[in-house]
Symmetry: C2
Subunit: 212 residues, 2 copies
DNA sequence: TAGATTGTTAATCGATTAACAATC
DNA sequence: TAGATTGTTAATCGATTAACAATC
């Protein structure tokens, strides 16, 4: 029953726990031990227990964890009571794919707007929503209570947006651009998905596998 | 001149250094100090120096780092002498976007094949390449020397692929599926891009910002 | 009761930060 | 020479792992 604030590594593991426990639940498994979970996660029983104890400890000494309880508790942690509202900035190739992903595969997050600066596509309908001009997004955010900005613009556009972002009063950014919001404003909650950086890291690790 | 094997956090920072140093180079900046870089990176001068010393230390005491030299050294580290060959498994919405990304925005990696199990799209041409049946990818890998597998299939399909992957003798996986290759085969080099997990972590952090 | 397995405290490990001698 | 800034060693911090008492 400690309820220590969860550290970032713990938070990052939470969705993975959720995935595996959902699988167990669907298989009809009733109980699971920290060592079984460690096995599935590729970690250690200690870590599993430490992780869960950040949130209050869902287990029973001598018995293990109830899959059902674990599932519903982690669900409560991951899905807020009201869905978060998100807005897409940059409706290019990647942006549209991510928008589609949010609409179809994410529980917990609503896509409520799409913005672009290209006149050629402004006004087009996509997923039943009209692509609006980029310049109108700050006003939109004020009216519609937007929580998350999904940034899929080129770097320069993202950089220009930086001031507007602060004005817009959003709580977090899902950032696919090469502009690092977190470096410039540490109060923002940012998750970066830097595809290029990620592929480079993979390529480095492959190439230097046998170093020393 | 220590040349310690770079740890994963250091490797992950390398592409970011590269981005910032490329910018400095394009601006015509000649020299940069560890504290300036720390500022741009949102880290500390100590970390910058430690990081670079993993690769042999590119600086000059009392003077700083030459932007030109830093750029070319990091480039050498990140881009292998021969490009790596990659193959896409799963040419759905996300897969096609990623393929497009690799073709247009990644130096250092070649896309040499695309595979899917859906008969409706097998044989279609995309980016001048024919989508081939999934069943043929192991043979293809043997003939064409494939280094990287980009997995954009649903979880079940990825799970079925697991054995073939080992046979195929690839060196690394860029994984967008919900099947965790790294847990099941720790000898594989895997970079996971779990969009759903990532968005969930963002949503958790937003919702629990003010906890304790 | 004995065996199993948690919750929690303590020990270890690794990464980050600080300090300082070396040197341009 | 004095000032600046690195390379490198030492100190700190945080996360992971181990140990063990509590308890089902």
């Amino acid at each position: 029953m400690s309820h220590i604030k969860a550290s970032l590594p713990v938070i990052r593991r939470l969705p993975r726990y959720y995935r595996y426990i959902t699988e167990l639940k669907n298989k009809g498994t009733q109980r699971v031990s920290s060592s079984q979970l460690a096995n599935i996660m590729g970690s250690t029983p200690s870590q599993v227990r430490q992780d869960f104890n950040c949130f209050g400890g869902f287990g029973q000494q001598g018995v293990g964890y109830s899959v059902e309880l674990l599932h519903s508790e982690i669900e409560k942690l991951l899905f807020p009571p009201e869905k978060l509202n998100a807005v897409l900035l940059g409706a290019g190739n990647l942006g549209v794919t991510i928008a589609n992903f949010v609409l179809k595969e994410s529980q917990g997050v609503n896509l409520v707007g799409m913005f672009d600066s290209d006149n050629a596509i402004i006004g087009n309908k996509l997923f039943g929503m009209e692509i609006k001009p980029m310049s109108s997004f700050v006003d939109f955010c004020q009216e519609e209570h937007v929580d998350i900005l999904i940034v899929c613009t080129p770097k320069d556009a993202a950089e220009e947006l930086a001031c507007d972002v602060i004005k817009s009063d959003v709580k977090g950014i899902w950032n696919y651009s090469h502009f690092d919001f977190s470096v410039h404003d540490s109060s923002l909650i940012v998750e970066n998905v830097h595809l290029r950086d990620n592929l480079m890291a993979l390529s480095y690790r492959i190439t230097h596998k046998d170093d020393e």
